[in-house]
């Protein structure tokens, strides 16, 4: 199975509120709140680090979860956010992964 690389879209707004992350798509105004695990994945979406490594390093390190199960959940979550243009998913490292650089 090929690696997935995820990057945050430039067309989003985001802010931490309490323990959750609010994310809104400027494309279709879809509004999401991300829980703690999802926030960690979203914050690690630099376009350069493989999703499997993000899960292993950032999720499994802090939460008691099996890597395979965590990766499956992460892929589902990533797919959902990608559908709304909030994350960009690629089979290769993204040359312009950071929304701070993209705008």
């Amino acid at each position: 199975m090929s690696e997935k690389y995820i990057a945050r879209s430039s067309a989003i707004a985001a802010r931490v509120l309490g323990s959750e992350m609010m994310v809104m798509s400027a494309i279709d105004s879809t509004f999401f709140t991300l829980n703690e695990v999802a926030t960690i994945i979203w914050q690690s979406a630099d376009g350069r680090t493989p999703l499997s490594q993000i899960v292993e390093d950032a999720v499994c390190r802090d939460f008691e979860v099996e890597p395979a199960a965590a990766l499956q959940d992460a892929e589902q979550f990533v797919g959902e956010l990608a559908q709304h243009g909030i994350l960009v998913v690629s089979d290769h490292p993204c040359p312009c992964p950071n929304p701070m650089e993209a705008v």
Binding site: S10, A11, I12, A13, A14, R15, V16, L17, G18, E20, M22, M24, A26, S29, F31, F32, T33, P99, M100, V103
Partner: protein
């Protein structure tokens, strides 16, 4: 409850300034007859000062950022400010007259991921619109801007302030909004100037016209629901707060002054002397605003409309008492429902033809 409403409640509990309205300038290329601002530059903040404030707002948890004026594009550094705001991942809305937006500006706004652009239109007839803005050709330019913005896929809203100078024009503006495929909002509120000058209040539309607007299904949806008598107010209403001003929202002037809201010019601190969080957390003025609950309003707490009135504490403040009634909203509640407000009764303004519910109000 929607997710956004849930977040608003969470921000309320946490004391987070979720939405901030920042006027980057009061300078403007139009001179609208009803405008509440003075358009001279009294020393507006520099690019660096504004960026520093944006950093502070991001740190404080602000998510929704409205950039307005004056006319935002009168600042040559506007796109620099906008780009910086988007780098900080604010959800940005822009209020503009659109006169200076051409294809390249529209494209840049789109590239920067702006959530929505609001443009003021007063009439679809140039002789009316341009007479209000006092800028010949302004309607044509504003509509052109809407088309450019729409062509780039941006969400656009037309804001239609209703006043004596454009009575009856809202029907045409509403139709124009439909033709252009943009959202339409109608606002019949003329506020005093930010310095307290009330001379422009004479431009408020007559009660009869307000009544007609509130009873137009095309504008309010179900007239029966919109104009329904208010239900009795329970403890949740009486223990509740009037609005988000000072709780989850505030306003910043081009000079760094912080107010609870753009319509609530209560000086609460200045960002050239204090940090935003210092003002937000420690300002005595903001603390006072936050302390007021519906039950603390001496007149309004006795009013039958207390749970449904659009009472603006800022307009009440400009009338002399932030705990008092806002006369313009009393009028709206009356024209919407036909039920006299406690403030009107107090001032002896109950109409002879008032319905029986007025007697119920007196008894209650």
């Amino acid at each position: 409850m929607s997710l956004v409403q849930e977040m608003n409640e969470r921000a309320f509990e946490l004391g987070v300034p979720l939405g901030v309205h920042l006027d980057v300038t009061y300078r403007c290329n139009e001179r609208c007859a009803h405008c509440y601002l003075d358009h001279d530059d009294h020393g507006e903040m520099t690019t660096t000062e504004i960026k520093r404030i944006l950093d502070q707002l991001a740190e404080a948890g602000t998510f929704f950022l409205t950039l307005s004026g004056g006319e935002v594009l009168m600042r040559r550094d506007f796109f620099d400010i906008l780009e910086y705001a988007r780098r900080l991942l604010f959800n940005v809305r822009i209020k503009t007259n659109g006169v200076m937006i051409r294809e390249s500006e529209a494209r840049r706004i789109r590239e920067l991921g702006v959530e929505q652009v609001q443009i003021s239109i007063y009439s679809r007839r140039p002789e009316i619109h341009d007479a209000i803005t006092k800028l010949p050709g302004s309607l044509q330019k504003s509509v052109r801007a809407i088309r450019f913005l729409k062509s780039h896929g941006l969400k656009v809203a037309i804001a239609n302030v209703l006043m004596t100078a454009n009575l009856g024009e809202h029907t045409g503006v509403h139709a124009l909004a439909r033709e252009l495929g943009v959202t339409y909002t109608l606002d019949p509120t003329i506020t005093p100037k930010i310095d307290g000058d009330e001379s422009i209040l004479r431009m408020r539309i007559p009660a009869k016209e307000l009544n007609a607007v509130f009873h137009t299904a095309d504008l309010v949806g179900s007239v029966e629901e919109f104009c329904a008598p208010p239900p009795p107010a329970g403890d949740d209403i009486m223990e509740g707060y009037p609005c988000s001003a000072g709780h989850t929202a505030c306003y910043i002037t081009p000079y760094g002054d912080v107010f609870p809201c753009v319509q609530f010019p209560l000086p609460s601190g200045n960002l050239r002397r204090q940090s935003f969080l210092d003002i937000w957390r420690n300002s005595h003025q903001l603390k006072e605003v936050r302390s007021i609950r519906a039950k603390d309003l001496p007149v309004c707490s006795t009013c039958r409309h207390v749970g449904t009135c659009t009472r603006c504490p800022g307009l009440a403040y400009m009338e002399g008492n932030m705990r008092g009634p806002s006369t313009a909203d009393c009028e709206k509640s009356f024209e919407r429902t036909g039920i006299v407000t406690a403030n009107m009764l107090r001032r002896g303004l109950g109409t002879p033809s008032s319905p029986l519910v007025q007697i119920q109000t007196l008894a209650g």
